[in-house]
């Protein structure tokens, strides 16, 4: 599934399911343009009550605050269902995610020296 149009950001989400967890690999931008697509794509996995949803950010090229907010929403929703969100391979976007408090609602790789 791909969201795209001329000059606008693109995001592709691919899935790999296990019994109790699903890995969603994001490729492209998690931006204002692609957030609706992100929410729409992730929602069915939330509805299926996986114990764990893993967002793999290794293919993310850009992230904006709305995108981080959408990831927080996923974490809050899955937590309400008794599951948890893990965000992996956050790389250069670590500080952006921590600034918005993703580490408060999801498992994310530790960021040394982060001061809120």
């Amino acid at each position: 599934m791909t969201h795209s149009s001329f000059l606008q950001d693109e995001l592709k989400i691919s899935q790999q399911e296990d019994t109790n967890k699903v890995v969603l690999r994001l490729d492209g931008a998690l931006s204002a343009t692609t957030v609706p697509y992100f929410r729409q794509t992730v929602q069915p996995f939330l509805d299926r009550s996986f114990e764990e949803i893993i967002l793999d950010f290794s293919g993310v090229t850009k992230i904006v605050s709305r995108g981080v907010g959408a990831a927080i929403d996923v974490a809050v929703q899955i937590k309400k269902n008794g599951g948890k969100l893990r965000v992996e391979n956050i790389g250069k976007f670590s500080r952006s995610l921590y600034i918005q408090g993703v580490h408060l609602v999801a498992d994310v790789p530790e960021l040394e020296g982060f001061e809120p």
């Binding site: 204002a32 850009k62 605050s65 709305r66 927080i72 809050v76 500080r95």
Partner: protein, 143 residues
Amino acid sequence: MAERLVKMQMTIPPIEGIEDVPVAAVEALAAKMGFSPDRVQDIAQALTEACVNAIIYSESDADVEVIMLARQNSLILEVRDQGPGFEPDQVPAPNFEIISELGVKNGGFGIHMIKALVDQLEIESSKQGTVVRMSTFLSKSEN
């Protein structure tokens, strides 16, 4: 000899995603000035947020201006738009307790994000438009 100021300017149409172009230029400039890779990323992220805000709240086809002012020890970025403006002092700081319980349904994090990423943030806003001025200073270890 007086400290030299290098000024560069780019105008972009209010099209979502086009901010990648000035951001790439600023990344190159900040790296060339000697900012560490982490700080280059912070500057790029802050500029991305400022441009995205200018673009998504734009109510016309008026271009957004991105101005880069480089001195030996500082990089000042200005994003100027002709949008409807807002009251910067009325943008609340995020309440992480509420967010942890209820999530984030809308935006509102952009300004908070920029504040956290640059050394100094000034916002001038009126009904005629907004100027977001972000300053980052080279640390001694980066010099």
